[in-house]
């Protein structure tokens, strides 16, 4: 149902470093989860509108009103690193192209 290559790809997209043992383990586990979910396809859903949310309701909105958030300093301090007014992040791109 799902192979090691797909597990590696998903892990890469989620920026997860998996060991070989974990890759094997997750391939088996993910496969059985997907197989379990797959049972749903036995149902006839021809006349069912695709669902995007599990709960009812729509159009929850707010007015376009400015509310200044006071705790700026606390928010900046949450980050691992900062320089003055800025958040500081590590190097983004590798040197090789």
């Amino acid at each position: 149902m799902i192979d090691r290559e797909q597990v590696r790809k998903v892990a890469h997209l989620a920026r997860l470093d998996l060991t070989e043992a974990e890759e094997v383990q997750f391939t088996t586990q993910l496969s059985s989860i997907l197989e379990y979910i797959e049972q749903l396809s036995e149902l006839d859903t021809t006349n069912v509108v695709p669902t995007t949310r599990a709960i009812e309701g729509s159009n929850v909105m707010r007015a376009d009103e400015l509310i200044h958030h006071a705790d700026r300093e606390a928010m900046l301090e949450c980050a691992p690193d900062r320089v003055g007014d800025y958040f500081k992040v590590p190097k983004i791109m590798n040197e090789e192209s």
Binding site: N59, V60, M61, F87, K88, P90
Partner: protein, 496 residues
């Protein structure tokens, strides 16, 4: 049979634009922080736009209204049921590691807009450009790269999240554009429309309007598209046009020399006037969209849709057509006057009282626009009302004043306002069209300049202009120019 060289292959470009427009709301799309541009870094931040755990984004109702209005103005079908999705990618400009956008159920689809290019001979060439879709999304933060002016050489980056969560609409065109000029005109028309609607200021320098270009070339007649290249980083309409023209040449040359076009993203370098590869591997992006569980779906009722539709102003394309067909203005004039909604409305308020719309158009496009540009003001700032401008136009039209006098008094009217007619009367500027009075002034001018008269008699007929000038000087510019010319000519020739 002669062995002629094979005919040179003709190529055509296939171009589509993705345009991001920042909506003119007070606050962000999902939180109550300000959208103000240019503030101290990280002053317009809050736990929602920073993606703190446990926060709940809530849609700004103005964002939906503006997006629907833009969709309607672009002749789109508005989705009765729409939702938001998460687009996942890791980049520090997005603190949540996903962007809230719309994927398979965008708010608007299947529209079009009309572009009009005015040819060298003044004839308009109109073309309909398809709009694939329009969706709502949040903007990302801004990165400053440290240790180098280029991303690749920097050792760290600084992030400002003031822009994170600022509301955008992304408008995706069909690949219906064929040249840099068409693409630049399309982008300008998008800007005119969002400005007419008042949903965006369309300011390219501040990044309120950003265009990404998708472009490929193919031999004329071929159905299949060539390999597509994306170009980014153009910050003017002119840059869009030049980047496309450069890229068309580059791709044709590559194909002719047997190279393969790489599917890639390229950056326009304004200084060097060229595009360069961003060296980002394509095909590795996989955004794993899924429905945003924190936001409920959006439903637009037919009644709401009707209300918004009825609030739409007349749009630039319709105005252009009306000015050309009903007012008889040239396509060029129609285009200039309709570029800015406030100017178009000023013009229309003027011609509601004025006899000659061409005359009114000329004053607005000429002296008044010149004044606005020089003083960096907008039409709403001037003291001259449309009805006073109409008076001025009518005074020219019925020969009460000359064009020159009109231009002379315009600055005073622009700054101090008031009635044009009263000003003309108060200053005694009414044109002299009385033959007797003009002949007296002409006689005086001739008597005072015997040397010039002699030269005129000897064939230097272009001195007519000199004498006209003398008459104008004497009458303080009030002499009817046409009549003065005619009478002077008669007089001088009778003396010859």
């Amino acid at each position: 049979m002669t062995t002629a060289a094979p005919a040179k292959i003709q190529y055509e470009a296939v171009i589509g634009l993705e345009t991001h427009c920042q909506l003119s709301t007070q606050t962000k799309i999902f939180s109550s922080s300000s959208t103000e541009f240019g503030a101290t870094p990280n002053t317009h931040i809050d736990p929602i736009c920073l993606g703190m755990p446990g926060v709940l984004p809530v849609l700004n109702e103005k964002v939906l209204e503006y997006a629907v209005k833009a969709g309607l103005a672009l002749n789109c079908t508005i989705a009765p049921y729409s939702k938001f999705d998460r687009k996942q990618y890791f980049y520090p400009d997005l603190p949540k590691n996903y962007q809230i956008s719309q994927y398979d159920l965008p708010i608007a689809e299947h529209g079009w807009l009309e572009i009009e290019l005015v040819g060298a001979d003044g004839t308009p060439n109109r073309k309909r450009i398809g709009i694939t879709r329009l969706h709502m999304e949040e903007d990302a933060g801004k990165l400053v790269h440290g240790g180098s002016d280029r991303l690749s050489g920097s050792t760290y980056s600084l992030v400002d999240y003031n822009r994170a969560g600022v509301p955008l609409i992304e408008i995706v065109s069909e690949p219906d554009l064929r040249s840099g000029q068409e693409a630049a005109e399309y982008a300008q028309e998008v800007r005119r429309i969002v400005r007419y609607l008042g949903v965006s200021d369309g300011n390219m320098q501040e990044g309120s309007l950003r265009c990404d270009v998708n472009i490929s070339v193919r031999p004329v007649g071929r159905e299949q598209f060539g390999t597509k290249v994306e170009i980014k980083n153009m910050n003017s309409f002119n840059a869009i046009q030049r980047a496309i023209e450069y890229e068309i040449d580059r791709q044709i040359q590559a194909i002719e020399s047997g190279e393969r076009i790489l599917q890639e993203t390229r950056l326009w370098e304004e200084g060097a006037q060229r595009t360069i590869s961003m060296r980002i591997k394509e095909g590795s992006s996989d955004y794993r969209y899924f429905p945003e569980p924190d936001l409920v779906p959006v439903e637009v009722s037919p009644a709401q849709l009707d209300e918004w539709r009825s609030a739409l102003p007349e749009l630039p394309a319709s105005r252009r057509h009306r000015y050309e067909t009903q007012l008889g203005l040239s396509p060029y004039d129609a285009r200039v006057l309709t570029d800015d909604r406030a100017i178009a409305e000023y013009f229309e308020a003027t011609i509601a009282h004025a006899a000659n719309s061409k005359q009114a158009a000329n004053l607005i496009m000429g002296d008044i626009s010149g004044y606005l540009n020089a003083e960096k003001r907008t039409i709403g700032d001037i003291a001259l009302t449309p009805s006073s401008l109409a008076e001025l136009v009518n005074l020219i039209e019925d020969n009460t004043i000359s064009n020159k006098i009109a231009k002379d008094i315009l600055p005073e009217l622009l700054i101090q306002g008031g009635s044009a007619k009263e000003l003309v009367e108060r200053k005694g500027l009414i044109q002299i069209s009385d033959t007797g009075a003009l002949e007296a002034a002409i006689d005086e001018a001739i008597t005072a300049n015997p040397k010039e008269l002699e030269q005129y008699r000897n064939g230097k007929t272009k001195l007519l202009g000199f004498f006209v000038g003398q008459v104008m000087k004497q009458t303080g510019g009030r002499a009817d120019p046409k009549l003065t010319n005619q009478l002077l000519l008669e007089k001088l020739n009778s003396l010859a």
